[in-house]
Structure formats: structure tokens, C-alpha cells
């Protein structure tokens, strides 16, 4: 790459956050998506969003191709072979959602040695030569408490709904919540496991409610807000502010309450569209931008004013999704520096 385009890249990644600086450098680059599993709605949404966003990028000439490959069985050795095939097919970058954090390392190293950019997301790989776009679950916990602190500066009582015991994600989100509560006026007066499922959360909350003082808010992990609301609605308590997790049933309940009594809350979760963030990060690396190896994906947060739109765009039984743009990728890169 010439010095001029390098300068342009630097300018692009620092100053031109609002513009769309698709430099000519990547117009003949080909990017592949290596995916290990397509059997649930999250993965289906992930692949659909990939097609939408990369299809447009190919049409606009930003990249030459962005093909998605899914292995037929969810097996690491098969995905390793798939990545080796991609090396042979001459892709310039490979975006990976990995079946195993370690078992693909050999194939990923082969790709790096062949000069291919490897960006892993969601299911990340530990091979140092690859980029990782991970989810900062701790931040997800902190964000909830920070939102509540703006709503209730004087603090109050919180009920915490946790996820599945013993799972890394549950520990991280909860640690983030407790960390943020530490420095605030809030106190956590109760904690139950909702297993990220509405029915489990409803039973657990109904069980603990009689022993609790008045609640200001409920902090959650996603997939449990609607169940908590059902349990509390069955009593004569005032409805506390329940933080939601972007599920369609949660958003629908929130919209209903909003119409009835102006209920206010926030909702946050990880969007399946993070595959497209990985795509743009790969494009930026190919473009010559200096990107740190460890990136974190911003959450998809739904605020009061964006609720109706988000609900309208989320199919029943699914999760709110978003497709990321080049600007989002640049913001994520900037945040990691």
C-alpha cells in the first residue's frame, strides 16, 4: 500500500467517523464467513444479517465477495478443514464463529501464515495471530446499574435475576452488576436464578417476592424480564423498573405498559448481527487500519424512544437484531485503542 493511502486510512479511522470512507484498496478483496452451526434462531438471524450487509457491500464495490460457509456438523475438525479450504480458495480475510476456542488454532495459524486476516467473533479463537471480537458481559451488568442510577439518583432496592448457575456469562454479568452497585446508592436485596428463561424466572421471582421490601428496580440478564414482570403483576406491588433483554415478548410487554401508563425502562443484549461488525473490522484491517487484536462488541440497547421501531422489526419469538455499519466498526476499533 502506498504512503498516501496509508495516510488516508489513518485519517479515515480517526477523523472521518461520520463519512463512509470505502477506499479502493479492498475493492478486489474477498472475505469468507466460516460458521460452525446454523440450528437456532440467533444463528439464522446472524446469517441473514451477514447476507444483507455484505451483499450491499459487494454491490457497492467495497469488497469483491463475502461468502458464508456453514459446516454441516458442529465439529471442530470439520471447521478446521473448512478454513484450510478457504485458504486454498484464496480469500483475503476469514471471519470465524468457532466451534472450539482452541481446536481451530492450527488451521487459523496456517491462514495467518498464508497472509490471510482472521477475525473471530462470538465463538472466538485463542490463536494470537487472529483478531477477537468478544462480548464484554461485565459491562452489560454495569450498564444496567448506570442506567438505573440516572433514573433513581437516590438509589433504592434492587432484585437481581441471574442466569444459569456455573456458566461464565452468568458470573460476568453478575460481577458487573455488583461492581457498579458497590459505588452507588443501590442495595441488592434479593437474588434468584432465572436461567435466561421466562418461565423459570417467573417461578423464581414469585417465590422470593413475599420476603422482599419494596423494589425500585429489577436487574436481569436477558430472557427473564417478561417472566419477572408476570410474577410481580400477580401481586399488589407497584411495578418496579425491569431492565429488559431485547426478546420480542419482553419488548411487547414493555410497549403495552408504555401505552397504558407511560412505563419507562431500557433493554440491552447482544445482537446476532455482530457477524457484520466482524465483517467491517476485517474490511478495515484489509484496508490497512491498525486494529487492536482484542475488540469488544457494543450491546444493542433499546431506549424508550426506539421501542416501537425495535418491536416492529423483531419477529415473534426472536431477538432484536441490528446490522452494523462501517462507522460502528470504526467506533469499536477506536474504543479498543
Amino acid at each position: 500500500m502506498s504512503t498516501i493511502s496509508k495516510l488516508l486510512c489513518a485519517a479515515a479511522s480517526t477523523a472521518m467517523l461520520a463519512a463512509s470512507p470505502s477506499l479502493a484498496d479492498t475493492s478486489d478483496a474477498r472475505i469468507a464467513l466460516s460458521n460452525n452451526y446454523a440450528g437456532n434462531s440467533w444463528r439464522q438471524a446472524m446469517l441473514e444479517t451477514w447476507d444483507d450487509v455484505t451483499g450491499a457491500a459487494v454491490e457497492a464495490g467495497t469488497v469483491a465477495a463475502a461468502d458464508a460457509f456453514t459446516t454441516s456438523e458442529n465439529q471442530a475438525t470439520e471447521q478446521a478443514a473448512q478454513i484450510q479450504n478457504m485458504i486454498l480458495q484464496g480469500y483475503d480475510a476469514i471471519v470465524v464463529n468457532a466451534a472450539s476456542p482452541t481446536a481451530l488454532n492450527g488451521a487459523v495459524k496456517e491462514a495467518c501464515d498464508a497472509g490471510i486476516i482472521v477475525v473471530s467473533f462470538d465463538g472466538i479463537v485463542t490463536e494470537p495471530c487472529a483478531w477477537r471480537i468478544a462480548v464484554d458481559f461485565k459491562q452489560m451488568g454495569r450498564d444496567q446499574v448506570e442506567y438505573l442510577a440516572t433514573r433513581y439518583p437516590d438509589g433504592g432496592n434492587l432484585l437481581e435475576i441471574r442466569g444459569l448457575a456455573g456458566v461464565f456469562v452468568d458470573d460476568e454479568i453478575s460481577a458487573g452488576i455488583h461492581e457498579a452497585v458497590e459505588g452507588s446508592n443501590f442495595t441488592i436485596v434479593g437474588s434468584v436464578h432465572g436461567d435466561w428463561a421466562q418461565d423459570v424466572a417467573q417461578k423464581a421471582v414469585a417465590g422470593i417476592l413475599p420476603s422482599l421490601p419494596e423494589l425500585t428496580a429489577v436487574v436481569t440478564q436477558g430472557g427473564d424480564g417478561f417472566g419477572a414482570a408476570q410474577a410481580i403483576a400477580a401481586t399488589d406491588r407497584d411495578m418496579p423498573t425491569i431492565v429488559m433483554g431485547n426478546r420480542q415478548d419482553e419488548l411487547a410487554w414493555w410497549a403495552e405498559q408504555k401505552a397504558a401508563n407511560g412505563y419507562e425502562t431500557t433493554s440491552l443484549s447482544v445482537a446476532p448481527g455482530m457477524s457484520t461488525l466482524a465483517f467491517w473490522v476485517a474490511q478495515q484491517i484489509l484496508d490497512g487500519a491498525e486494529v487492536p487484536k482484542e475488540l469488544s462488541v457494543p450491546f444493542l440497547t433499546i431506549q424508550q424512544d426506539g421501542l416501537d421501531e425495535a418491536l416492529a422489526n423483531t419477529p415473534e419469538g426472536s431477538v432484536a437484531n441490528v446490522s452494523y455499519s462501517l462507522d460502528d466498526a470504526m467506533a469499536a476499533i477506536e474504543a479498543a485503542r
Partner: protein, 307 residues
Amino acid sequence: MTREHLRILLPVLSLAILLAAVFYLQPRAMSYFGLNLLFNLAIPVALATIAQMMIIMVNDIDLSIGTFVSFCACVTATLVQDTPVLGYAVLLAAVLVYAGIGAVIHLRGLPAIVVTLGTSFVWGGLAILVLPSPGGASPEWLQSLMKSKPPLVPMAIIAATLIGVLTHLLIKRSSIGVVLQGVGGNERALERAGWSIVQLKALAYGLAGLFGVLAGMALVGLTTSADANIALRYTLLSIAGVILGGGEFTGGRVSPIGAVLGALTLTLAASFLSFLRLSPDWQIGAQGAILILVLAIRLLVTRREAN
């Protein structure tokens, strides 16, 4: 042309046709680098297929080879790396356990399919005990061996040739190999001739264990770290490889070179389908269709031969 020749001709032909198709679809594969990438992950599959062949040779079937290879991979990535003496001792013990399983299956007249299904859960559990979360590291020498770049011919091809030729010499040319095939052919005749079937079965299973260990080590050399579920596919791949390579489930009729070719063909078939850009929904089906096609041709050829 004897039946033995026919038996080996079909795997050679199916591999050649697939290879030609892959070269046509992806000319880049027609290079040192390309061949290595196409075939290096076939090496552990080939070793596992040879392991399976040892069991099929004595009229049994092994449903635990996938988890066993996973277990060996986990041991290689942890114990062998950290405390080599203990690590190799564990691998040696695993081979002896395999031989023991063979002896027990014969002594108690148990169906191998049930016993090995049971042991597959044991190996899977042990793998998780050894390596609870994915990780570990490959021993340095193993990694440099598997990733070495010998002049002219890629490592994957040299390794496959070596495995094929050595096991051919062992099974087809050595006297003990012929006796082992005899266990599958006519166990009772061997017994009357004074051979101990228990010892022979233990030997066949022990050899299977040895090749399983080698498969696990080769796999870790390639992936550089392990995962307790890394080789679950190998159980079915290895059975398909043996059959594709001209082996039969009964009668001790197996072909080591054919088994290696079968393993290479299966690996190549997956790459071929991915180069075709076939939708993943169809890939398992298509892989099965290739298998059925080759077996159908074999049946036609052997029927004609018999007439």
C-alpha cells in the same frame, strides 16, 4: 486380475476422480502448499481408520475410536506436554486397556458394538477430566513434525504413504498379520491349529489402541491444542473409510492401503463439496451419496467377478 487387485483399484480410482474434480474446481490446490492443506487433516483420520480396520479385521466394530482419539489428544496436549514421563505412561496404559477390552470381549463372548459404545462414554468422560476446558498445547517436536515442509513432496502425502505401506507390510506380509486376518476369516480353524484367540484379539485391539494414540497425537500436532470433543466424528469416518477402502465387515477381508485411501477420499469429498459451494443443508446428504455410489459400484464389480 485377482479380487485383491480389484479391491484396491476402486479406492484408487475414486480418489483420483475426486482429486481431478477438486483440481478442476480449484487449480490452486494443484501445488505443494495446496496438497498439504487438502490432506494434512486426513492424517489423523487415516490413523483412526487403520485403528478401526484392526477391529473390523477380527469381525468386531469399534464405536469408541472417536472419543478415544479425543482422549489421547487431550492427554497429549496436557500431560505429555507438562510431565512427559507420566503422559507417555498414560498413553501406554490406554493401549493396554484397549488390548484388555479385546480380551474381555472374546472371553465373555460380549458383542463388541455394545462394549465399545459403553467405553466411548468412559473415554469421553476421561477426556473432560484431563482437559475440562479447551486448551493445552502441543509438544514442540510434534508440532514441528506435523508442520514440517520436506522438499518436493508435502508432509501429508509422505505420512499417508508411510502409514499405508507400513501397515500393509504388517498386516499383509508379516506372518502375524496373516494370522490376525485369520481370526476374522475362520476363528475356529485357528484355534484348532493351536493359536490363542484371546491373545490374538488382544493384539488386534492393542494395535487399534496404538493407532488411536498416534491419531490423537497427530491431531494435536496439527491443531496445536485440544478440546475434549475434538475427534467425535472419527468414529463414523473411520468405519466409512475402511469400507470405502475395500474392507468388509466380516471375514477378515481388509486392505490397509485401501483404508488410508478411503480416509483421504472422505476428507477430499468434504473439500470437494465445499468448493462446489453446495449449501450445508445438502452436504451431509451429498457426502452419503458419494459413499453409496462408490459402494454400489464395488458391489457391481465384485458380483460380476463372482459370476
